[in-house]
Structure formats: C-alpha cells, structure tokens
C-alpha cells in the first residue's frame, strides 16, 4: 500500500482546526498524538452500546465489555510480538508501568546495598526518579550511561557500568529530546552476561517504528496509548511472563486476587495481578483501535515516512543561521523528534511566537532535565513528527522561526 498522507490526515478531525487564524500545524506528537476518527468512534460506540464492567459480570454488557477489553490486549500483544496476551499489563501510562517494575520488580530482585541499577543521561524523568526512589529504599546504587556530543549513548564504559553488581538496566529506546534511537543489542548482551534484567522505555519508539520485544531480547518494556493515536489514561507494561509471574503485586484491591479471607490473600496470575480496580476500559479498547489503525498502515511505512520528514527537517533547520540542533544530525538511528535552540531567544518565546502562527511545538525541559543539562541548556524547542506530518508543515515551522527572529532581531 502506498503511503498517502492526505488520506491519513482526513482521518484526523482536529487537523482541520485553525489556531490564531492559521491552519493548525501540529508538531507536538512526541508530547501527545492526535487521534483518528476510528479510535474516537470505537470509544463512543463502546460507551453508548456496550458499557459494562469487565471480568466480573455474567450479563451481556459485561461480557461484551470484557471481550472488547481482552481483545484489545491481544491486539497490543501481537503489535509488539509478545509471546502471549498475558504478558500485556494495562497501566495508566508509561510512568506507572516503570513504577510497577521499580516496586514489584525491585522487591522480586531483593536489592541491597552494593547492588546497582543502570540508566542513562538521556532518560525522561519517569525513567530516572522511580529508580532513584528504589535505590533510596534499598541502599542500591544508581549509575548511568553518558551521552556523546552527537546525542548517542556513550557505551565506551559498558563493561564497567554493567557488571556483576548490576541487577537491572533501564534505558530509553528512543530519546524524547534528542530523537536518538538506541541500538540496545550490546547492552542487552552484556546484561545477559552478568545476569541483569533489562527494561526499555518505549514511549517514543512503539508509536513510530516496528518494535518486536522478542527480537530486542529485553525483559520489560513500557509504552503509553496517547502517544500512539490512542486516548490518555491507558499505558502498557510488557514483561516476560515468568518474570511477571514471579513478581509480587504493585497496587492491591479488586480484580487482582485469587481468594481473600480476613486472614490473608492469594493473588491472581498476571496480568490480572497488576490490574487492581476497575481499569480504563474504553481507553484500552481505544488503544486497541489505534493499534488496528497503525497495523493497517504498517509500522515500516510509518517509520519510513517519518524518516523522510526528519531528513527534510534536519536540512531545513540545519540551513537556518542561528539554529542549533541537538541530537544526531542525520536521520540514521534517529526518529522524528527534533530539539533545537534559536540563538538569543528563549524556547518559551520561540513557542509563543510559533503558536501565534498556528505552529504547535513543545518548549521547556521535556521532563528530561539531565539531558538538557548535558547540552548546557535549561530548555529547548522541540518539533516532533508523526504519520500525518507533511513537508508543508516543516516549511511552516521554518517560516515561523523567521518570524521569531524578526520579533527578537
């Protein structure tokens, strides 16, 4: 199937909007993506016609809701090539998925002083703070990979960093600031040598490129629905079944039990063990529809389109005087998330002037302060692309930046 951006855009009602008298140019998909009619419609249908609670009702509505909810789990499992849908745990977002592993996985690992957890300097705060807290609770030590000047993971000290004391390595698959896509094969191989678990934060990769958990050879991945055409409030933890099965619960309550007496409780097997309480049902079903949508287009095609747009944008922004791009300067091993600085103008002012022209970008530290600090800036301006992004929109960004320089010239 040929990739037809115009046809794809027609599925996204919001893209018809005007912002401040200009056509919307949405370049903030790394923050949250827009949603196609197919996702919005299936959630509306669910709420209008099939709403019931899941996994506990014998009535027709409850059965329909359960079947749709579990159907979404199966679609997502196959989307990332999980061995079984039981390896897919629904969470609120990536942050909760990482916290789940930091708590339940941390407890399973029985961490103590002397043990080490390894992250990197290009992590989102959600892949730093849960591990800092885990280390505070257990006395374990947090260590991290550095980042090279061109925005790649610095693996030069891999063997020192990942060693016999390392219990878990948690690394971002694609950086939300630099756009870098990390080839984690060497890290995974080293972790296997020393018996450490590996988690990947796939919040920015699963939405944009084919991700196969078995080919990656890792133990856990986290991703979130709203960055991949789905709704907010639904995220995913994928974990190897035997690991999930060995982990204690995280949140406790309804749905996660096998049996409860006043004296004690036994727990349901995964994934139910980690889904206490009524889950976001319509949101899970919406995420299933998003996965259907992406699958129909093909993740290879989505990735290729974004590679083309990224190459175009790197050239267009790279040619602008006074614009400095952070991260890899070519599309090789990088995705469509492009952070930059405009000389003499603070990112907030850049974002404000772009917004006046309908161009929506993210400004600030992107919840990755250590990454910004690594490049000596408190904040950056970030344009991020998706399957609906066009070259015309990149041109609009460039024109917008010309305007920024006029105001602050």
């Amino acid at each position: 199937m040929t990739f037809d951006v115009a046809r794809i855009r027609a599925d996204f009602p919001i893209l018809d909007r005007e912002i401040n008298g200009h056509p919307l140019v949405y370049l903030d998909s790394a923050n949250t993506s827009q949603k196609p009619r197919q996702v919005l419609e299936i959630m509306r249908q669910h709420n209008e016609r099939h709403n019931g609670n899941v996994s506990r009702s014998v009535h027709t509505l409850g059965t329909e809701a359960t079947s749709a909810y579990e159907g979404a789990r199966a679609k997502i499992a196959s989307f990332v090539n999980a061995a079984t849908p039981d390896e897919i745990v629904f969470t609120k977002n990536s942050t909760e998925a990482i916290n789940l592993v930091a708590y339940a996985g941390g407890q399973h690992l029985n961490l103590k002083p002397g043990d080490e957890i390894v992250v990197s300097e290009m992590e989102h705060h959600s892949n730093i703070v849960p591990w800092q807290l885990l280390c505070e609770r257990t006395g374990a030590t947090l260590r991290w990979f550095g980042v090279t000047d061109d925005g790649r993971l610095d693996e030069s000290n891999l063997d020192d960093l990942v060693n016999e004391r390392t219990k878990l390595v948690s690394i971002v698959h694609m950086s939300n600031v630099l756009g870098t896509i990390n080839d984690v094969s060497r890290i995974v191989a080293r972790a296997r040598q020393v018996g450490a678990l590996v988690m990947l934060d796939c919040s920015q990769s699963v939405p944009h490129l084919p991700v196969d958990v078995r080919a990656l050879g890792v133990d856990f991945i986290a991703f979130t629905g709203h960055k991949m055409l789905g709704p907010t409030g639904i995220g995913v933890l994928w974990g190897k079944y035997e690991l999930l099965a060995a982990m204690p619960p995280f949140l406790a309550g309804g749905s996660m039990i096998e049996t409860v007496t006043m004296q004690g409780t036994t727990y349901a097997p995964p994934p139910a063990r980690f889904e206490a309480g009524t889950p976001p049902i319509a949101e899970a079903i919406g995420l299933g529809a998003a996965v259907d949508y992406l699958t129909a287009i093909g993740m290879e095609n989505v990735h290729q389109h974004e590679q083309d747009i990224t190459a175009y944008a790197l050239k267009a922004l790279g040619d602008m005087p006074g614009v400095r791009i952070f991260g890899p300067s070519t599309p090789d091993g990088r995705g469509g998330t492009l952070s930059f600085a405009v000389d003499g103008v603070h990112p907030h002012d850049v974002g404000q002037i772009l917004d006046a022209q309908g161009v929506e970008v993210r400004v600030g530290h992107h919840c990755a302060k250590p990454t910004c600090a690594r490049f000596g800036v408190p904040a950056t301006t970030r344009a991020s692309f998706y399957l609906y992004t066009t070259q015309d929109e990149v041109d609009a960004l460039v024109q917008g930046l010309d305007q920024v320089r006029k105001v602050f010239g």
């Binding site: 603070h346 907030h348 002012d349 404000q352 006046a356 600030g364 408190p378």
Partner: protein, 154 residues
C-alpha cells in the same frame, strides 16, 4: 497581530538591555526561585538601608517575560521604602492575576504596565511573577515585609 499584547517594545527592551542585572554585595537577603514546569530560574538579592530597599540585584535564566520582569522590578523598587514597595508588589500581582481585566496604574507600576498583556496568556503569568515572588522572599529574609505571599494561579 495577537502577540502585540505580549511582546510590547518595553518588554523586549528590558529583555535585551536589562537594568541592574548581576548579583551584588552586600545584601540582607537572597532567594532562588524556580518555575518547575519550564525550568526558568532567578536569584534575587535585597539590600536594605533603614526602611529603604537600597538595591535589588538578580541573576536568572529564562524567557523574555521573566527576565524583563526582573529588570522592571529592579527599576521600580530600588530606593523605595517598604510601604511603597508593598503597594507596588500588590499592584503588580493583581495585574498579573487579573486575566486582562485589570487597568494598570502607570504612576504605581511604571514600565510594569507593559505586562498587562501577559495577563491574557495564563501560561506566561508565572514567568512574569517569578522574580517578584523571589524578591518577596529575599526581602522577608532581609527583614522587610512587602506583603503576604499570594497563591499564584496560572
């Protein structure tokens, strides 16, 4: 253009040519404030001579609004007595929290009236208030009360 209200010439001038920038000794109180959502930072030092604020010195990293606001603060408050300063502080905070409905008094706020437009951009109100909140804390540490700390709504 919509942005005219936000990026007044006066604001851009203060941003490009800040008044009184840089941290100076001696000082009676210092405060460092951060806007956690955007990472903007400002350090404000207050020197007191009797009942007068004899100097406000500052250093910061941030957008044009927060940095220009610090410059205007320095200009408005330096050399004035605590009671006058409390009035200026209150007027500026009211202006910023007025959602664009408050008519500023130029006699009280001077160049600060240029920030009237900022009040219409809720996401930027915190930027404008950042140095003023730091100033209030620094003044308190220097033993000068310039008004109760209002809840910043933005």
């Amino acid at each position: 253009m919509l942005l005219d209200g936000l990026y007044q010439e006066i604001i851009l001038d203060h941003y490009k040519h800040p008044h009184g920038r840089g941290l100076r000794d001696p000082f009676g109180g210092e405060a460092h404030h951060v806007n956690p959502t955007c990472g903007d930072e400002v350090t404000v030092r207050v020197a007191v001579d009797g009942v007068n604020i004899s100097d406000i010195s500052y250093e910061g990293l941030g957008c044009s609004i927060s940095q220009a606001s610090a410059s205007v603060l320095h200009e408005l408050v330096t050399g004035k007595d605590a009671a006058t300063v409390a009035g200026i502080q209150e007027a500026f905070v009211q202006l910023m929290q007025g959602r664009g409905q408050v008519e500023p008094d130029e006699d009280v706020l001077g160049d600060g009236v240029a920030f009237a437009g900022v009040a219409k951009f809720p996401a930027r109100v915190k930027c404008a208030l950042l140095p003023w909140m730091a100033f209030q804390d620094a003044a308190a540490r220097a033993g000068v009360d310039v008004g109760a700390s209002p809840e910043v709504k933005a």
